[in-house]
């Protein structure tokens, strides 16, 4: 059973909705720019961990305007620190996907003692002129699945992005998706390089970098930027997956994460 609680931070101006499930040591999952969906990857992780999945500020129902209380990345990182304190997670493993991967890495750089282990799945955070990150906020909505997923028709795509019919459900999904992109976009516009390169050396957590081989949003060359800058970081690439390998290959990625976090490999 997924538990749900709302954690106020930032003088109660930002309300984090946190989904949690499972048993065992704590794992925090930070979602990407398309909002949080409880998915088979998280289910898989709950077999070994207590998974805490907070929603990015502004993306929770009934609290869309909370995002306006944050001015920039520093505010966001401090909010996450407050959240972890309130949840009693003094030392914790953090897994982040895409935009959530960038936030996870920032958190690990700001609080190296708090983030014990770090898993970054196709994270953002750098910019290379020779291999530009695609600005998905400017894509035609119909083209978005083709950029995020190897198989844009698959279940993983519809699970993350919502139904295309009936019209009412599609409009609700569109609203949720647009707002999730808008509120996360605040921290990465117009380019996702917001200075992580100056801070990433502070990360001391053992780090696993996971990359979908067919990532069409953030080319896999960006894996090097992370692996070369974080001491001892390891890279695992996932065949048959695009920008969201944990959704297209949930068993494989969950197994890698489990083995990495429990030190079985």
């Amino acid at each position: 059973m997924t538990r749900e609680r709302t954690v106020p931070v930032w003088q109660s101006r930002v309300r984090f909705r946190v989904l949690s499930q499972g048993g065992g040591s704590a794992l925090v999952f930070l979602h990407g720019s398309w909002g949080l969906t409880w998915d088979p990857f998280l289910d898989e992780l709950t077999r070994s961990f207590t998974v805490y999945a907070p929603e990015h500020p502004g993306t929770s129902p009934d609290a869309p305007d909370d995002i306006y209380h944050l001015d920039g990345l520093w505010d966001l990182v401090l909010c996450y620190d407050e959240l972890l304190t309130t949840l009693g997670l003094d030392e914790v493993a953090v897994v982040g996907h895409s935009f959530g991967g960038m936030v996870a890495c920032e958190l690990a750089a700001a609080y190296p003692r708090r983030v014990q282990r770090l898993v970054l799945i196709d994270p953002l955070g750098f910019w290379r002129d020779d291999e530009r990150v695609v600005n998905w906020m400017m894509l035609n909505p119909a083209d978005l699945p083709g950029y995020i997923f190897r198989d844009p028709q698959g279940d993983a795509a519809s699970r993350l992005l919502g139904p295309s019919e009936p019209a009412e459900a599609a409009a609700a999904a569109r609203l949720r998706l647009q707002w999730a992109m808008g509120t996360t976009g605040k921290f990465i516009w117009p380019l996702p390089d917001k200075g992580l390169k100056k801070r990433i050396h502070r990360v001391t957590a053992p780090t696993l970098v996971v990359w979908g081989k067919e990532d069409r949003l953030v080319p896999s060359v960006y894996a090097d930027e992370f692996v070369q800058r974080i001491a001892g970081a390891r890279l695992q690439t996932i065949g048959g997956a695009g920008h969201a390998p944990q959704l297209e290959e949930p068993q494989t990625v969950a197994r890698m994460v489990r083995e990495f976090l429990t030190g079985a490999s």
């Binding site: 906020m137 998706l177 808008g182």
Partner: protein, 418 residues
């Protein structure tokens, strides 16, 4: 009624297959393939000559606006144009309507307050201060402003601008986006407490509230005509009523594309290809670029997803007659144009500040002058008295020009081309 001539300053000679070969007219069109600086210099001079000609013909105002990195209308600094117009029209009663300099792209935004004050000084108090939010293509895509912050920045800059014009003392601005320790504008505008403010919008409900709360003239710069704007402008007037303001038609501005000729048939012969050029090439922009996520606040986004303002129809599939039938363009003989403008735009939308776009797309200089001249001679005089019988005061027009009408100069077409 006040009637102003609007100009976009478009590229007039894009290749015939432009919209097939290139991704967009905005943000990414390659300058080196599509333009030549000397030729573009000619466009700027034509634009200025056309607006000066409109001023001489007796239009009440001349309008320029700001856009970036595009072939649709490239006056990155409308105030450079406005400055020329202000100086060269000092003998007339024409208003300098800047529609205008975009606050979120000006940093710090007091730059706009300063330049507008300069224009008001140079023109002897003839400035209308348009304070647009700016299009997402300009502000978000070209100038890098985060979509979610676009409106917040605008609102802060708007408050700062109004205060900078009026404050009697040096003040400090400790804003969220702008911090200035000593704001003390030099010069200040002639018009007191400040020049009339127009806010262009495109139908966001949050902009209706903003416009009414700040008691400014809300302007809909539309390319799809009065028919498709009707429900939106009705919502605006409902907000005006709900907030207890009088339904003064001068609270509203509207931009309409107009072509006029001796007859409806002649209008089609003369202008059809220029109208199609405008809709097929000048508006060739990928749809999602108009609404990057976060640009609309949550409430407006929810409302627009529930009932989209923009029509589903694709202008690229429409031809001249469709544009005319649907009211995108009001076209034809002087009688046709006059009747449709009054019925659909002026009365239909309850508009007191009308802007007309008379240079459209590829329309060449001489033809533009003809369009302006015929409009000024045969249409404009009959529009002027609209609303006169109701006794409204146009608080959103420079005070010294409110009653004034510039007699139409007897200028031939060639006079504007010098």
């Amino acid at each position: 009624m006040k009637i102003s001539a609007f100009h976009l300053m478009p590229h007039r000679e894009l290749p015939a297959d432009f919209e097939k070969r290139y991704e967009s007219v905005w943000v990414t069109p390659p300058w080196w393939e599509l333009a030549d600086a000397r030729r573009v210099g000619q466009y700027y001079n034509w634009t200025l000559d056309e607006l000066l000609y409109a001023a001489r013909l007796g239009f009440d105002g001349v309008c320029t606006n700001e856009h970036h990195q595009n072939a649709y209308g490239f006056m990155p600094s409308p105030n450079l144009m406005g400055s020329v117009l202000a100086k060269l029209t000092n003998d007339s009663h024409v208003a300098i309507v800047q529609m205008g300099a975009t606050l979120p792209t000006s940093n710090p935004p007091v730059r706009v307050a300063e330049e507008y004050a300069m224009l008001d000084c140079i023109s002897g108090g003839r400035l209308v201060a348009g304070l647009p939010l700016g299009s997402p293509m300009d502000v978000n895509l070209c100038y890098g402003i985060t979509p979610l912050e676009h409106r917040e920045r605008y609102r802060e800059a708007f408050e700062l601008t109004l205060k900078a014009w009026q404050a009697r003392e040096v003040f400090a601005w400790n804003g969220r986006y702008y911090q200035l320790a000593n704001v003390n504008l030099w010069p200040r505008p002639i018009q007191q407490p400040h020049p009339p403010v127009w806010v262009p919008g495109s139908g966001s409900i949050s902009t209706f509230d903003f416009a009414v709360d700040h008691d400014v003239c809300y302007c809909f710069l539309s390319y799809s005509g009065a028919k498709s704007a009707k429900s939106m402008m009705d919502s605006y007037w409902r907000v005006v009523a709900a907030k207890g303001r009088e339904p003064n038609p001068y609270r509203a501005g509207f931009l309409q594309l107009v072509v006029v000729a001796e007859s409806d048939a002649r209008a089609e012969e003369k202008f059809a290809r220029h109208v199609e050029y405008f809709y097929h090439k000048c508006l060739h922009v990928p749809g999602p670029w108009f609404s990057p996520p976060g640009n609309q606040d949550y409430r407006s986004l929810a409302a627009s997803l529930a009932s989209p303002v923009r029509r589903a129809e694709n202008p690229k599939e429409l031809r001249y007659r469709d544009f005319v039938d649907k009211g995108y363009v009001i076209a034809g003989s002087p009688a046709t144009v006059r009747d449709r403008l009054v019925e659909e735009v002026v009365k239909g939308l309850h508009v007191g500040n009308l802007m007309v776009l008379l240079q459209i797309g590829s329309m060449p200089h001489e033809l533009t002058l003809e369009n302006m001249e015929l409009f000024a001679r045969e249409v404009l005089p009959d529009l002027r008295d609209c609303w006169s019988d109701e006794g409204w005061v146009n608080h959103w027009w420079p005070e010294r020009l409110r009653g004034a009408v510039t007699p139409a100069a007897t200028v031939g077409v060639a006079a504007g081309g010098a």
